[in-house]
Symmetry: C2
């Protein structure tokens, strides 16, 4: 895939702006586990995921992590360039979940384009709004509904009842049990899968990490 | 104060854009308690606080509210115009904390200006980043550090020890007791004050709502 295909604003840039962006971009191969960004003081720049997967998370003083969201192919990591906006004042870390190939854009180049081009600035707005929505969803589920621990508790119970670590049940059924909606359950199950707690199959759920599942059941991810 | 003084991007607009914005703005007086925006389906537009105070909060299914942040004079309420960005998909509500005088900007007009002007788009970016930071701070304190309940528990204990509801102690002293930083304690105390749990004076803290303080102490704001 060509560089410009990653940027919906490409066609709104002048030839000179396109060149400036192209020339500044470097490909970067990072092995699994690489920490790309750590805290608000860091400002390495933007990353575009060509292949692989990045994880964006926060770390408590005690070292406990909560995954906020994951970035997959074609996604753009904005907060590793937190210095491009003065309003951003929170600490998150970004690491490579798998071996990944990334495009790196220097923060100054991107910031300059944002100032020059409404298309770039609005695209950045949409990116941030969508990340904000991810985070709000997660906190809403954890803080209010404790859906993480309720879902985990339900899975533990079913494991014990069915005496197996491969549960045969649909997301719809779980939603009915928990008084939730199928979409919400599917999303939280996917979150669990990303955290390597479960593996989702066709109408089955394989428990990979019973210990973490039990911890989550008794105490919610937030602790 | 003139309308244009509220908008740092004003001087970057063309005369025509300035007129379009000016003509679309209406003053709106709202009594205390008015709900201005409720959920992602709503898209009433942007509000600029002339006088008064707005509260931005989320509501759980059970009706429990958590205040995310407050908007004071000169602040701009962006999320009441959530339709201007497709990425925004979360439900918040906005209400008037006090009798307020607001400027109202229709969402379509603002959205059009954002598309035309990089200055408007970047300003909107900064607004969103700053709100995002507020929310991340709050969740970080509640989820990880349970600072809300630890601070409340400390204040309850001091009330009982000192046998008074007007505690004479500095934020620095509290920070030392809780192993935190003065800035963090001051910010959380201010949050409590906004929630009408305490009233802060010169080196004193008056407990206004002992019941809510005890609830927070035993269970954190998140429950």
């Amino acid at each position: 895939m060509e560089i410009h295909e990653y940027f919906p604003f490409w066609k709104h840039l002048t030839k000179e702006q396109q060149n400036r962006l192209s020339y500044s971009i470097r490909e970067r191969k990072v092995p699994k586990g690489t920490i790309l960004h750590n805290g608000a003081e860091d400002c390495v720049g933007l990353f575009v995921v060509q292949t692989g997967q990045l994880r964006v998370y926060t770390i408590s003083d005690e070292g406990r992590e909560i995954t906020l969201y994951r970035l997959l192919e074609r996604d753009i990591c904005l907060f590793s360039a937190s210095c491009i906006m003065s309003g951003i004042q929170f600490d998150i870390a970004v690491s490579a979940d798998t071996d990944s190939v990334l495009y790196h854009i220097p923060p100054k180049i991107y910031q300059q384009l944002m100032r020059e081009s409404a298309a770039v600035a609005n695209y950045t707005n949409e990116l941030m709004a969508s990340r904000f929505s991810n985070v709000m969803w997660l906190f809403d589920q954890i803080l209010y509904k404790r859906l993480d621990s309720r879902l985990a508790a339900f899975l533990v119970e079913e494991m014990e009842l069915q005496e197996t670590d491969e549960l045969k049940m649909t997301h719809e059924t779980i939603a009915q049990h928990l008084g939730s909606a199928r979409e919400v359950i599917s999303r939280m199950l996917k979150y669990f899968q990303n955290e390597k707690i479960v593996k989702l199959g066709r109408s089955s759920i394989l428990i990979l990490d019973e210990k973490k599942l039990r911890e989550t059941a008794s105490d919610s991810l937030r602790l």
